[in-house]
């Protein structure tokens, strides 16, 4: 484990060094291309400002609200489509067509429905995150072992009981993957949505305001903060997956024969 951390850090350090180096040469004006050290310093400064931290909290809240709403819709729907061949056939074309539509293309619609607001932001996050969760839920249900199904039937369980107590736990690691994947996109979409459909708050709103100033330094610093947030969130979800699904093959380190 430590080895991979060192290798990862090395990559980051190399990037930072390149950044610092190219900035120092001065091809681009420092207001538009500040050096790595200045950006890091600015980021550290911002993270100590309550007003900035508040916007970070707003963004995270919108993101989680969107994720939770998306899960509430996509997971049950995925369970249904994953266990009913008829329902799946009826909807698969629809899903394949709607899924590639980027949230930001729907921003005007969101603004129309909800005005420039946090709700519009959340709506766009719900749109974006629903698809990976839905598709992974369907896939997870398809992966449920037929022997496990038969075992449930041999216990005289109703179909609903089998879906809830056998299929769903079995599919849970796949569903979690869907959530982790959408988490990565969710943060980016939340910030972008705040920039064009939000009411001026959150990190997106903050970036828009900061970019109208003379220097791009705060914008770079905010972007860095977003990146770090995304990294941390991903790590947390992975940790959660390890805690929740130690029994899944992907988590087990050794299997006795």
């Amino acid at each position: 484990m430590p080895k991979t951390i060192w290798r990862g850090l090395l990559g980051v350090l190399v990037l930072l060094a390149l950044w610092q180096g190219t900035a120092a040469v001065g091809f681009v004006r420092p207001e538009y291309y500040p050096s790595a050290t200045r950006v890091l310093a600015e980021a550290a400064y911002l993270l100590a400002q309550p007003s900035f931290l508040y916007e970070v909290a707003v963004t995270l809240a919108s993101m989680f609200a969107g994720l939770v709403l998306a899960s509430l819709v996509a997971i049950p729907l995925g369970c249904l489509l994953g266990t009913s061949a008829v329902a799946y056939r009826m909807t698969t074309l629809l899903v394949e067509t709607m899924r590639p539509i980027p949230a930001l293309a729907l921003a005007p619609l969101a603004i129309l429905l909800f005005g420039l607001s946090n709700i519009a932001t959340v709506a766009l996050v719900v749109w974006t995150t629903s698809w990976p969760i839905l598709i992974n839920s369907i896939y997870g249900m398809h992966q449920v072992d037929p022997v496990a199904w038969e075992t449930g039937r041999s216990f005289r369980m109703t179909r609903a009981a089998i879906v809830l107590r056998v299929a769903l736990p079995s599919a849970a690691p796949f569903i979690a993957t869907g959530i982790r994947v959408s988490l990565g996109i969710a943060l980016a979409v939340t910030v972008a949505a705040e920039m064009i459909a939000g009411s001026g708050n959150g990190l997106g709103g903050w970036i828009v305001e900061a970019s109208s100033g003379g220097s791009l330094l705060p914008v770079y610093a905010a972007a860095l903060v977003v990146g770090i947030l995304g990294f941390l969130l991903n790590r947390i979800v992975e940790w959660g997956e390890r805690r929740l699904f130690p029994w899944h093959e992907s988590q087990r380190r050794e299997v006795r024969s």
């Binding site: 072992d145 038969e150 075992t151 039937r153 041999s154 216990f155 849970a172 130690p246 029994w247 024969s257």
Partner: protein, 269 residues
């Protein structure tokens, strides 16, 4: 359910399924009965429809002809409450997200039994298969033989009247298989469960049973319903040397091989 009535009656059972070439008959008119407490083996070559037969008897598949009566009642499209199954593929049948105790207790919870009852029945079942110490472990932490023992404990937890076992020891090594065979015999003795045991292993079918049903290769027909008069308790070494064992085993082996010889004679001009 009258006293003395057979636990299982199979009358003229046929099972056919649709393939690209048309209807394929897997079972062609099987009839037999199993009395309370009997241990009956079903033996036949691979692909002879043994597993299909077991699934029809269990109620997982619907017969296309004839009927099946469990405790005197005809099957109604679902598994009867007094029936429990042990599948061949234990690794795929046990639930990996539950520990051993929870796996064994699972069907009891599906029946909505009260908590203390569930605890007692699952503890006793685990005890009966010798895995009481592993209650908190997870299936993947156990060897294949132990996992199959958990599957057996889980089937026993409901105290079934009829236990159906589908080639349960086909996926374990010979040593483990011998241990598991003796375990099943002990369980049969202790719980008095009626057992229908499907296997492709002729030795195993004779060693375990009171009666052996010999199936022909597909489509499955009953070639022989042989009573086994070997003394109980059975012993892996002594019983297998017993002249009756050797004789019956040879008889069944030639029965299973003979249909192929008949087919060859018919095919050649």
């Amino acid at each position: 359910m009258k006293a003395g009535e057979p636990v299982l009656v199979v009358e003229d059972l046929t099972y056919a399924y649709r393939t690209q070439e048309g209807m394929l008959e897997a079972i062609a008119g099987l009839s037999f009965a199993v009395a309370e407490g009997e241990f009956v083996s079903i033996v036949g070559p691979s692909g002879s429809g043994k597993t299909t037969l077991l699934k029809v008897v269990a109620g997982l598949l619907r017969a296309t002809g004839g009927r099946v009566l469990v405790s005197g009642r005809p099957l109604s499209g679902e598994v009867p409450p007094e029936v429990a199954l042990v599948f061949q593929d234990y690794a795929r049948s046990l639930f990996p997200w539950l520990n051993i105790r929870a796996n064994v207790a699972f069907p009891l919870q599906a029946k909505r039994l009260p908590r203390p009852e569930v605890e007692r029945l699952s503890a006793e079942s685990l005890e009966a298969v010798g895995l009481a110490a592993f209650a908190r472990r997870y299936p993947w932490e156990l060897s294949g033989g132990m996992q199959q023992r958990v599957a057996i404990a889980r089937a026993l937890a409901c105290r079934p009247r009829l236990l159906l076992m589908d080639e349960p020891f086909a996926s374990v090594d010979a040593q483990t298989r011998a241990d598991l065979e003796d375990l099943v015999l002990r369980v049969h003795e202790a719980f008095g469960t009626t057992i229908l045991f499907v296997t492709h292993d002729i030795d195993e079918s004779v060693y375990l049973a009171d009666r052996v049903l010999v199936l022909s290769p597909h489509p499955a027909r009953l070639l022989r319903d042989a009573a086994v008069h070997l003394p109980r308790p059975r012993d892996q070494v002594e019983t297998r040397e017993h002249p009756d064992f050797v004789h019956l085993r040879a008889e069944i082996a030639s029965l299973i091989r003979r249909p192929r010889a008949v087919a060859e004679r018919v095919e050649s001009p």
